[in-house]
């Protein structure tokens, strides 16, 4: 065993009393420091049981679990759990305690003094994107579902545990909120580098979140344990393939980033230029629309010849709103954004919101086509995909142009 290993499951089994069939049978798995390992499988396959044996909410019937080299069975269970962040789907915030009390529970049990706890709570709320001044003294029921889960994550991070267990943490939120929480969490993880065991039944979520994915079958037996790229390219058997579902190549939309494919250039017109400039630029470029940008180069609106009327003197407020995407967004995010805005294109902007190019639906189609062709050819995409993966956890961010002005 190397120093690289954070969690080591050695032939772990769990047989519940009064049952003959084990819930978990002979699972061995090593989880490396700083990676997100996703346990994915159909409901009732024992993935949650497997996870809960790590923090001893469930005691294994046989086998050993090593955490950072020491057998968890030899440690005090309560002390062990205070060193392992724990996030569940139902969030489990205590309704009669304020956000600050909830977040500060573990530090308090660890005997931190009040000042240090208060500072830590504020720091954590900042980290998960909640303004401490506004949220510290709220009660859980005064928060939306997404805000509650952010507080749940903050509570799990409170004592800076090296390991986190997350049981379908974003499963109870609506798709939009879930996407945002996933992206935020990946960005957080980029900084925090925790070792995370993440349970889900949603394969798309597994692809998006996992450094490695363990596809579990009945009794939590590992059918395949590999990176998302290799899993998609080479499912180990027909069960895994069926679980991945139809269109494995389309699922690669969750892996590829906007930055990794070719974009289109469009003519730009500064918003303080005259409408006649627009017509000239359209004519030169032989395109149907130009993009107006502000003085900083940030995209404002799409302007077509039809949108211009002779009476107009300036371009301010003329045209249709734009959809923007971050280069780090996945192709899936970009497609979703386009569909949501019923728009055939999205403007790619840098981290300061400045124009970098335009991603059209045709660019996307071309990328999808390439992925499907290359998958049919061989296992070749692995190396390339792994490379993209390093940029992947940067967090994909999509928003529409209206929110930006």
């Amino acid at each position: 065993m190397t120093d690289d290993v954070m969690i080591d499951l050695q032939q772990v089994s769990k047989i519940y009393r009064g049952q003959r069939v084990p819930a978990v049978e002979n699972v061995s798995m090593t989880i490396r420091r700083g990676e997100i390992v996703v346990l994915v499988g159909p409901s009732g396959c024992g993935k949650t049981t497997t996870m809960k044996m790590i923090n001893r909410l469930i005691e294994p019937s046989s086998g050993r679990i090593l955490l950072d080299g020491s057998d968890v069975a030899t440690l005090d269970a309560n002390a062990l759990r205070r060193r392992i962040g724990y996030v569940i789907q139902q969030v489990g915030l205590f309704p009669h305690m304020t956000v600050a009390t909830n977040v500060g529970l573990v530090p308090k049990m660890l005997g931190w003094d009040r000042r240090r706890i208060d500072e830590r709570v504020d720091e954590l709320l900042h980290l998960v994107g909640l303004d401490p001044g506004q949220f510290r003294n709220r009660l859980p029921r005064q928060l939306s579902g997404g805000q509650q889960q952010r507080v749940g994550v903050a509570r799990a991070l409170a004592a800076d545990p090296p390991v986190m267990l997350m049981d379908e943490p974003f499963g109870a939120t609506d798709p939009l909120t879930r996407d945002r929480l996933q992206n935020e969490f990946l960005r957080l993880q980029e900084k925090l580098r925790k070792t995370i065991v993440f349970v889900t039944h949603d394969f798309d979520e597994a692809i998006k979140m996992g450094t490695r994915i363990a596809v579990l079958g009945e009794r939590s037996r590992i059918r395949q344990f590999d990176t998302p790229e290799r899993l998609l390219a080479n499912p180990a058997d027909s069960t895994v393939a069926r679980f991945i579902g139809a269109g494995a190549s389309l699922k690669q939309l969750n892996l590829r980033r906007v930055a990794a494919i070719d974009w289109t250039e469009v003519p730009l017109v500064r918003v303080d230029e005259s409408p006649t400039q627009v017509l000239r630029r359209l004519d030169e470029a032989k395109q149907s629309a130009v993009l107006t940008v502000d003085g900083e180069g940030r995209p404002l609106r799409w302007v077509t010849a039809r949108a211009l009327e002779p009476s107009q003197v300036t371009l301010d407020g003329v045209g249709d709103p734009v959809t923007v995407v971050d280069p780090q967004a996945t192709l899936r995010d970009a497609l979703d954004a386009m569909l949501a805005a019923s728009s055939g294109s999205a403007v790619v902007v840098d981290d300061r919101g400045r124009y970098r190019g335009v991603l059209t639906i045709d660019d996307l189609m071309r990328a999808i086509h390439e992925m499907r062709t290359s998958q049919r050819e061989s296992d070749r995409p692995v190396a390339e995909a792994t490379h993209q993966r390093s940029a992947a956890s940067n967090g994909a961010v999509v928003s529409d142009g209206r929110g930006r002005r």
């Binding site: 909410l57 724990y86 529970l105 300061r352 919101g353």
Partner: protein, 260 residues
């Protein structure tokens, strides 16, 4: 969050009513009870009282039996709370789960036996007096509190308990910081029921010479003195309502924030 994230379209609930606003609805009851007592006093004043009536309807005697009644009720309530809440907590621990049906059945027997029968049987066994009455009243009052304690703790969301254990709280910490505070409203509802029951049943204590307001009622019936009977009945009713009111106030004060 990063500058490129769209503003969260998330809404938050309105602020909860303050504790004092919750207490406002308790203001009427004391006024009504005072009015009833005053009316009874004035009504008694208009009646010509004979010797027998005067022996019952004087301040000394009334205060004494009211005090006896209150003492009996108070001690009963304290014992019931200790026994039933303690028992309820024990019976909801996983290790003792299997006893729960037996204990509830036993408490049901205590409740189902007619109180007067229970008191008389006990007095044959233990002799008459205060402590016998007390045992009877406690046996009678345990069930609602025990049942509500069990229900109150059971209705706490399992996920909260799991979350508490998951972040490293000990079983005791989970009980004290999560289960009990969240069960308080249900437990106190049981205590209120037991309290009111105790006031009513304590009127029977007079049959085994344990005093209380029951004495007035029995005198009124036996000697056909309507005034005495009415005063006894009114005082008992007012006492029961006053204690129920007090229970309501207390349970609103103790109700944890974030639940209503």
């Amino acid at each position: 969050m990063s500058a490129t994230t769209a503003p969260a379209p998330e809404q938050t609930a309105v602020l909860p009513p303050t504790r004092w606003r919750r207490l406002r609805r308790h203001l009427a009851m004391p006024v009504v009870l005072t009015a009833v007592l005053l009316a009874t006093y004035l009504w008694v004043g208009t009646r010509d009282l004979d010797d027998i009536e005067r022996r019952s309807l004087n301040a000394d005697y009334l205060l004494r039996v009211t005090k006896q009644h209150l003492t009996l009720t108070a001690v009963t309530t304290v014992l019931v709370v200790v026994i039933a809440i303690g028992g309820g907590i024990l019976l909801t621990r996983p290790a003792l789960r299997w006893i729960t049906p037996i204990a509830t059945a036993l408490a049901n027997v205590g409740q189902a036996t007619p109180a007067i029968g229970l008191l008389v049987l006990l007095s044959i066994w233990l002799g008459i007096g205060f402590s016998t009455a007390l045992i009877g009243l406690v046996a009678y009052g345990v069930l609602p509190v025990l049942r509500n304690t069990i229900v109150g703790i059971d209705q706490v969301d399992r996920h909260l308990i799991e979350a508490g254990r998951g972040i490293g709280m000990s079983p005791l910490a989970v009980l004290v910081r999560i289960e009990l505070p969240l069960a308080v409203p249900v437990i106190l509802a049981g205590v209120r029921t037991a309290l009111v029951l105790a006031v009513g049943v304590a009127t029977l204590a007079t049959f085994i010479n344990a005093g209380g307001l029951g004495g007035l009622i029995v005198t009124g019936i036996k000697l056909q003195r309507e005034t005495v009977l009415v005063v006894g009945a009114v005082l008992t009713a007012v006492l029961a309502l006053a204690l129920d009111w007090l229970g309501g106030v207390i349970s609103d004060l103790l109700r944890p924030r974030g639940l209503d």
